[in-house]
Symmetry: C2
Subunit: 214 residues, 2 copies
Amino acid sequence: MQLYSYFRSSAAYRVRIALNLKGLSYEYLGVHLLKNGGEQLSDSYRELNPAALVPTLVDGDVALGQSMAIIEYLDETHPDPALLPADPVGRARVRAIAQTIACDTHPLNNLRVLKYLKRELKIDDAAKDAWYRHWVDLGLGAVESLLANSPATGKFCHGDTPGLADLCLVPQVYNARRLECDLSAMPNVVRIDAACRELQAFDLAAPDKQPDSE
Amino acid sequence: MQLYSYFRSSAAYRVRIALNLKGLSYEYLGVHLLKNGGEQLSDSYRELNPAALVPTLVDGDVALGQSMAIIEYLDETHPDPALLPADPVGRARVRAIAQTIACDTHPLNNLRVLKYLKRELKIDDAAKDAWYRHWVDLGLGAVESLLANSPATGKFCHGDTPGLADLCLVPQVYNARRLECDLSAMPNVVRIDAACRELQAFDLAAPDKQPDSE
């Protein structure tokens, strides 16, 4: 398999963790989002991924976009270890935590959105950082409530094995720390992030461990 | 089952279509996002859904948030008719189309984001509408490419039966039309939206058919 990735992309980071947890080796192909006018916008990359976003996973003759779809694909084609629980209610809970990050938080703070705020709406850096922190506060705050209010929360987001929710949580916390967001009201988020990062699968997927990191 | 919904919510609209396609009856509970300071922000609603977003599906003693997690839950607990194909590559394709809308398009244009742009960033209505159309152009444009470039596209997004991708597409096209977005370069999107809306399951889920519509 080949993974088109950018070291700092939160969505690519999720997929790197999933591949590592499943023990799948892959070729790392860097797509630099800032250099060369944005390598993800090139015609050749768009042929693989019309949305012009990272990551793209190539498995044989199939090219797949969208990190959450890729992770579910990996879970279906390489079921051990499972990234989702077996019961439908548990699966819905894990997907809901993951989507609170992947749908409600991260899309508001990714690079193309921040660029639009700056270039088109002419907002200054302070307003841009406040925007970033606002959506992190809301999104990770909702995740904290989902974790704090449920007996299903364990060492990780759902029980004592890492899964889909954890591999969304860790990259989002990484982003939150980069922007110096206040996580003091989110003890479960902070605790689970730390537990995950002790695992080699998460550690080796970290942005600063990637071949294209700066 | 009970569905906490707002007639115009794109995420709730998706779940209404899914419930209808599966022939599941449910009690409709309106949560008005604009009245009473935003009913989704009330303490009682937050107890059900800490993210303070619609929809929430209540099935027995379980309350589930996040439209995409809810739809996968319905597909697992009521598998007929299936909303995802059987093969992993097909499932990944359908999920990727759905997430191009649910992660990359809709979150940028929902009510709380538009409010932030207006109240905090003080942008005028013209700039707000341009923002809206920009993300629709990119998001539905990517969907159009995914549809146009694949032999798996049929009468609907994937083959000739409606599924997860279609029930994200129709609410997003509804929103696009409300904001007068130009869809002329998206013939597959327009064609599939029309085919879907001929089906009763989609028609009965439309915003103007809901008990809380104005």
